[in-house]
């Protein structure tokens, strides 16, 4: 993974504990500029703690971290100047209107009146919030709130954006809108640090994924690299007759389930291996009701690495 791009985020051996409860047990992270990095993990893995340390909200107990070259512990103000953060819960002012929320950010970034107004209108337009701009976020849908939230973090034109579970609680269309926003930001050269418990999201967006479990990074790489870690591919057959299950399982070296009438055969999903299976079925004269090919996906990776059943993106 060595490339010449400078690192936007670098963390070495970060540790954090609350009393006896160790939340992070030595986390290393490297995110090159202009890429999307996804920290994937179940609830309680330490994702938010990692974001909080990198965004200067809480100090780490050990290790060090740099964002845009500035040390998060010793040079927090320099870090704050270059980042935008969208936390797990919409960080908007519920009593101000959408437009006033953006104006507030502009003033806090000391942009000046004209520039604040210009950027506000541009962001309202870009995030489809023009009509909602006069209303308070209390009346917004989850997706609109999230869009306003991200718009607010863009007012300061940050180089690095932290998105902590940006699509949690959104419906599928809201999620897609956020995804397309993230892709556009990266195209413009922004670095994105994204946490999620949705595998689909990490697979869809990230250049690099790190799986965090129990405060440690248990696997790291591109989505493809991670999928290769798990030899989970197989073909599922559903037979018509129970008395043939054992025979087929034996011939194809698979696992038979007489109750379910299924046979699971390890396979890499290639055409050759499928042809062999089909030939055998023909030769044995067995009636097969259904055949499905299962190639390993991040679910398998997640499951085998963390022992958790992954969260359902559609839940």
């Amino acid at each position: 993974m060595n490339n010449s791009k400078p690192l936007a985020i670098q963390a070495r051996d970060l540790t954090k504990s609350y009393g006896d409860n160790a939340v992070l047990g030595g986390v290393d992270i490297e995110v090159p500029e202009g890429t999307i990095f996804s920290l994937l993990g179940p609830n309680g893995a330490g994702k938010t703690t990692t974001v909080n340390i990198l965004t200067t909200l809480i100090p780490a107990n050990g290790g060090e971290a740099f964002v845009n070259g500035a040390n998060v512990a010793h040079d927090a103000d320099a870090v704050r100047k270059s980042i935008g953060v969208t936390g797990q819960f919409a960080a908007v002012d519920g009593l101000l209107t959408g437009r006033e929320n953006l104006h507030l950010m502009g003033r806090l970034h000391h942009l000046g009146k004209r520039e604040t107004k210009r950027r506000t209108e541009e962001l309202l337009e870009r995030f489809d919030l023009v009509e909602a701009a006069k209303r308070a976020p209390a009346t917004y849908s989850g997706g609109m709130k999230r869009r306003l939230d991200i718009a607010m973090c863009l007012m300061g034109d940050p180089k690095v954006i932290f998105l902590d579970e940006p699509t949690t609680g959104l419906d599928p269309s809201g999620r897609r809108v956020v995804w397309s926003i993230v892709r556009e930001l990266v195209k413009a050269g922004t670095t994105i640090f994204l946490t999620t418990q949705y595998l689909e999201e990490a697979d869809e967006l990230a250049d690099k994924i790190a799986v965090l479990n129990g405060g440690k990074i248990v696997a790291e790489g591109t989505p493809e690299q991670l999928k290769r870690l798990v030899p989970g591919g197989h073909v599922n057959l559903r037979l018509a007759r129970a008395d043939q299950v054992a025979r087929i399982a034996q011939v194809l070296a698979g696992n038979g389930d007489t109750d379910q009438l299924t046979v699971q055969i390890p396979s890499d999903g290639s055409v050759d291996s499928l042809r062999k299976i089909l030939d055998t079925i023909d030769r044995e004269g067995v009636q097969v009701d259904e055949l499905t090919v299962h190639t390993p996906d991040l679910d398998d990776v997640f499951l085998s690495l963390t022992g958790h059943v992954p969260a359902q993106a559609t839940a």
């Binding site: 965004t55 704050r80 980042i83 002012d93 507030l104 806090l108």
Partner: protein, 261 residues
């Protein structure tokens, strides 16, 4: 821009935010103003006739009691307003936007000073309404222009001190409910001081407490200024000292809590 200029700019931004909150959520302000006004009317019209006679002044009765009670009710107005401060600070801290502020390169103290200045303004609103109602039902202050300026200065100082104290209480509270409870003892202090009756009429132990707690000098300085009388030097020193002590205590607590959250 320099750091100081940034702090001023950020404070004014945060103040605008608080003032907008006040306008958007006026029921809290109305509730806060209501308390001292209700106390004023209740004590003047229900208890005032009897207590006024007991004051031993030349006229006695309800009118004399209105004259005695009003300065204390002005302090009560500050107490009511700063209760709201603790609540609104605690409510604000539960909002995600505070965490956003903490990840931005802004003067951190401005979040707190915005609250403090807005709350002092709210205190003045409460004082003005209370004084207005008192005047409407017959209260006649007797201060010269300089006295009014002095009065305003003293009231700013007292509300500044009490506001910082309650910002600290609001920051220290774990929940909004807790924040609405912890400043409650402040409500009792005017009762256990010279707000409703002169402290000489109290039993020795209570009188001892009343004479040495902060609200008695607060009330006596306000009383003297309202009627153009000479302010007792000790009372004035105590008022300034207590106010600054409250402000410092509240500032230290809030700053610690804000950075730690």
């Amino acid at each position: 821009m320099s750091t100081i200029a940034h702090t001023f700019a950020d404070t004014s931004t945060m103040l605008r935010r608080q003032l907008k909150h006040m306008l958007r959520y006026p029921s809290l302000t109305v509730m806060l103003v209501g308390m001292p006004v209700v106390f004023l009317l209740l004590f003047v019209y229900v208890f005032g006739g009897t207590i006024g006679d007991g004051l031993g002044g030349p006229t006695g009765g309800r009118e004399a009691y209105l004259t005695y009670l009003t300065p204390g009710m002005m302090l009560m107005a500050i107490v009511a307003a700063v209760q709201g401060t603790a609540i609104s600070v605690a409510m604000d801290m539960t909002e995600g936007i505070i965490d956003r502020f903490r990840t931005m390169s802004i003067a951190r103290v401005s979040v707190l000073t915005g609250h403090v200045i807005a709350s002092v303004i709210q205190s003045f609103l409460c004082i003005a309404v209370t004084l207005g109602v008192a005047i409407a039902i017959g209260f006649r202050p007797d201060a010269d222009p300089l006295g009014w300026v002095g009065l305003a200065g003293v009231l700013v100082l007292i509300s500044f001190g009490l506001t910082w104290l309650t910002v600290g209480l609001g920051m220290a509270a774990k929940t909004v409910e807790e924040a609405s409870n912890t400043p409650m003892p402040l409500m009792l202090l005017p009762f256990l001081g010279s707000a409703f009756v002169p402290t000489e009429s109290m039993p020795t132990a209570v009188q001892y407490f009343a004479d040495y707690q902060p609200f008695t000098p607060f009330i006596e300085v306000v009383r003297a200024l309202l009627f153009g009388k000479a302010v007792d030097g000790t009372d004035l020193v105590l008022t300034i000292a207590w106010s600054l002590a409250f402000a410092l205590l509240g500032y230290v607590i809030s700053k610690k809590k804000f950075n730690k959250r």
